[in-house]
């Protein structure tokens, strides 16, 4: 067969279904939306509660969204070189990915850690590694974002200790830690302790940060990972809001003032391909969060009601097959994020599904955002889709569906119980199975995977080969630090940490900062807390 007729054969997919009447999360859409499909919008002003149209009255004209880039992996020295290069290029925000041992609380010397050292991020087992990471970089002049959860309190404490050693006043520090443990139990897996003590650690970190490093964002409540795991857009937003409310309750119970701490809560989502569903998900989320805080907690400060969020365009919506298709997907998703009013956007590289992104693909990902920001004009007015009958209808409906899921969770006893029981985890696994079967059985169309597939060689770039010596080097460095430090001081600091942890009303952060200053390792601090709290036991219900 000639190439041309092969192409024709592939485009003749006659048995593809016509556009469905349902959004990806199952909401039924009118064929043509009209004014009476939705409530008349009386309070629809951006910058005014409940912020359906946006949290800032001047939208992107006032401030464009932040364009996030992922950093790499490897050793602290390599990352340090990369950071210095990026800073010289004018970047002011650095992003730090940690390796799995650091994320899960194991030292590089631990046997479970060995094959994973330095693979998905940098190994930061103690303060000296963090000092190497930021050697020659003024922590007071940059913003650093750490994707860290189980050990967020420790890594944050380490960052503060590092700033102390540089002589940088804590009040100058800015950046983010993800610090969202609830989603780890259901979708990401870097948990350490059981749920309740972990909630305490999260709250302690947020409250300490509010006082000591007020410019720092101590939590980014992420729905992204449950979405990537298989939840629908409605569930993603619902679980995220539920988690957010659980953290709010914990913070209040530990003495926090919601008018103050709520200002530093932010959120994080995926954007998938059902365009209007995504836009409306964000509008509904913004409205709901403000309403819930007003109704349940009587919050009055505007800034405390703001639903600030960042997004990732990519993840499981991208395919390994026909990777260039992903360029289009990421562009569509970015547009949905912009029209949904995101404060920061991370765009995935088109080849992310099969390999480490190349410089070319990483740059194209960034260009996608830049083209949309500077050429497309869609950011010129605030909430340009507002007032569209369909968009207002779908925003209302999405809000209703989200509330239904929130009620289900409440009926189960709340999000913490739902996780301890394994209920939430098995819901997500079921949903993932349904989603997979839907694609397998072609009820959901994914171009290149179950429609318009073609014979193609999968492009393969370099797969990351970590120098095997690195793991050894990192491990032995850790041992050297353990030998050279004042081990009595370490023991005393760990004992004080343990004592504080056994007192429910103590904030653990000052003790963690002290431990970091003695060069106690992540593994040691975690082990000390595990003695008291135990480790999380997965409730497996498949």
């Amino acid at each position: 067969m000639s190439q041309r007729s092969e192409l024709n054969a592939v485009t003749d997919d006659k048995d593809l279904p016509p556009p469905s009447e349902f959004t990806a999360s199952g909401i039924s859409l009118p064929l043509v939306a009209i004014a009476t499909d939705h409530a008349p919008r009386g309070e629809g002003e951006p910058g005014r509660a409940p912020y359906t149209r946006g949290i800032f009255a001047d939208g992107y004209r006032g401030r464009l969204w932040t364009m996030r880039q992922y950093a790499g992996f490897g050793t602290a020295e390599e990352s340090n070189q990369r950071y210095k290069f990026l800073l010289a290029q004018g970047q002011t925000g650095l992003s730090v990915a940690l390796d799995l041992p650091t994320q899960c609380g194991y030292d590089p010397t631990d046997s479970l850690a060995r094959p994973e050292i330095g693979k998905v991020g940098v190994s930061l087992s103690n303060l000296s590694e963090m000092e190497t990471l930021f050697e020659g970089i003024d922590l007071g002049g940059i913003s650093t974002s750490f994707t860290i959860n189980g050990t967020a309190a420790i890594i944050y404490a380490m960052y503060v200790a590092c700033a102390d050693k540089q002589g940088v006043p804590r009040r100058k520090l800015t950046g983010t830690i993800q610090n969202d443990i609830l989603k780890e139990y259901v979708a990401r897996g870097t948990w350490i302790f059981p749920v309740r003590p972990s909630m305490r650690l999260i709250a302690d970190t947020i409250l300490y940060s509010n006082d000591e490093t007020p410019r720092f964002n101590p939590i980014s409540i992420a729905g992204a990972h449950v979405r990537d795991a298989g939840a629908t857009a409605v569930e993603e937003m619902a679980y995220t809001l539920a988690n957010g409310l659980a953290y709010v309750d914990e913070l209040i119970s530990r003495g926090g003032n919601i008018e103050k701490f709520a200002k530093r809560l932010s959120f994080f989502f995926y954007v998938h391909m059902d365009f209007f569903e995504e836009v409306c998900k964000f509008r509904a989320g913004r409205r709901l969060w403000a309403r819930l805080l007003q109704e349940r907690y009587k919050v009055t400060d505007d800034k405390a009601l703001h639903f600030r969020f960042g997004v990732v365009c990519g993840g499981s919506s991208l395919t390994a097959a026909q990777p260039y298709n992903n360029v289009v997907r990421v562009a569509v998703e970015t547009m949905a994020a912009v029209l949904g009013g995101a404060q920061s956007i991370f765009t995935a590289a088109f080849d992310e599904a099969s390999q480490i992104p190349t410089e070319f693909s990483a740059q194209l990902a960034l260009r996608t955002q830049q083209i949309i920001a500077y050429e497309s004009g869609i950011s010129k007015s605030v909430d340009p889709l507002g007032g569209s009958h369909l968009v207002e209808f779908l925003t209302d409906k999405t809000e209703g569906e989200i509330l239904k899921v929130l009620t289900e969770i409440d009926e189960h006893g709340g999000v913490v119980k739902a996780i301890e029981d394994g209920w939430l985890q098995s819901r997500i696994a079921e949903r993932a199975y349904e989603r997979k079967m839907s694609v397998d059985e072609r009820r959901t169309i994914v171009i290149g995977v179950n429609a318009f597939t073609g014979k193609e060689e999968v492009q393969s770039g370099e797969s990351f080969r970590l120098d095997p010596e690195i793991a050894k080097r990192v491990s032995s460095r850790c041992e050297v630090v353990k030998e050279k430090r004042d081990n009595d001081a370490v023991a005393r600091a760990l004992a004080r940490l343990s004592d504080a942890a056994s007192r429910d009303n103590a904030n653990l952060l000052p003790y963690l900062v002290d431990c970091c200053h003695t060069y106690a390792t992540v593994g040691e601090m975690v082990a000390e807390l595990k003695k008291l709290w135990g480790g999380f036991k997965e409730p497996i219900r498949v």
Binding site: K537, E538, I540, R541, V542
Partner: protein
């Protein structure tokens, strides 16, 4: 002379043979009954936290003995696909990595009991390899547990407070057949009521002279002492069985159960082989037909 132990892979293969044996294989297999091994059955409704408790109990028992410990964990099979996800062993992580521990998960399959087919033989394989102690965990409450009652020395029923009126629901069944009642997650509300309800049922049984007085032990995995107390209760029962039963009595009972379950399975096999027409015969005629086939197909 001490018989050489099998390596774990060989043992495992033999366990599979035993678990999958057909009736005739089972009848001719020459498993040697063990004199000095001890079998504990632990059962209870799902969600009571049995598996985690068993893991902790196993830990405790390992500390106090020298020998190896086998754990047989029985999970239900899906009626639709015939498949199963056997997940309970995960909750026993505390002991799973110990080289002295051997955990085997079995699906309950289609055996009339609901119990894993050939469980009798599986236990004998462990014992013939020198395992002095076996814990059998079963799922749920009901017919299954009668079978286990017959196969083990000590029967523990794990209940959790606050789950409706379990005592009423289970009366007349396994409830009255247990030797020890573990009230798990005893820190939850409803414990007192549950214990009271249990006591009232147990008092209604006319005590036979010299019989065992069932013990009720509140447990919680967060409370090491409570696990020790459960273990102490088990040991107490164990001592009592030694003094009040003879091995020959026990073996007789177990043999009766074993052969009974083989006959029942064989009946089921025979019925499966019959034609649809045969099944329309009047009951007496069908009965005769089954008996004839049972006799005709005696294993060699």
């Amino acid at each position: 002379m001490v018989k050489p132990r099998l390596n774990r892979r060989e043992l495992s293969a033999r366990l599979s043979l035993a678990a999958n044996a057909r009736v005739c294989d089972s009848l001719t297999a020459a498993y040697v009954d063990s004199d000095d091994s001890y079998r504990i059955g632990i059962t209870g409704p799902p969600g009571a936290g049995k598996s985690t408790l068993i893991g902790r109990l196993a830990s405790t028992r390992l500390l106090r003995s020298d020998g190896d410990l086998a754990l047989v964990v029985i999970d239900p099979t899906s009626a639709v696909s015939g498949g199963a996800v056997l997940g309970d062993r995960i909750r026993m992580e505390a002991v799973a990595g110990d080289p002295r521990v051997f955990i085997r998960s079995l699906a309950s399959r289609s055996n009339l009991d609901g119990l894993a087919e050939n469980l009798s033989d599986v236990l004998l394989v462990f014992e013939s390899d020198g395992f002095k102690e076996i814990i059998v965990e079963t799922v749920g409450v009901g017919q299954v547990e009668y079978a286990v009652r017959n196969l083990v020395d000590t029967m523990v029923l794990v209940l959790m407070p606050g789950v409706g009126d379990q005592v009423q629901a289970m009366k007349g069944g396994i409830l009255e057949k247990a030797d020890i009642y573990a009230i798990h997650k005893a820190d939850l509300p409803g414990t007192t009521q549950l214990i009271a309800a249990l006591n009232s049922v147990l008092k209604q049984k006319a005590p036979v002279a010299g019989s065992w007085a069932p013990m009720i032990v509140p447990t919680s995995v967060d409370n090491d002492e409570s696990v020790d107390q459960l273990n102490a209760a088990i040991e107490k029962h164990r001592m009592w069985t030694k003094s009040s039963r003879t091995m020959s009595m026990v073996r007789a009972r177990r043999r009766a159960y074993h052969v009974g379950s083989l006959v029942a399975r064989r009946v089921s096999e025979v019925l499966d082989e019959l034609s649809p027409e045969a099944l329309t015969l009047p009951p007496a005629a069908l009965y005769e037909m089954v008996i004839l086939r049972l006799r005709a197909n005696l294993p060699k």
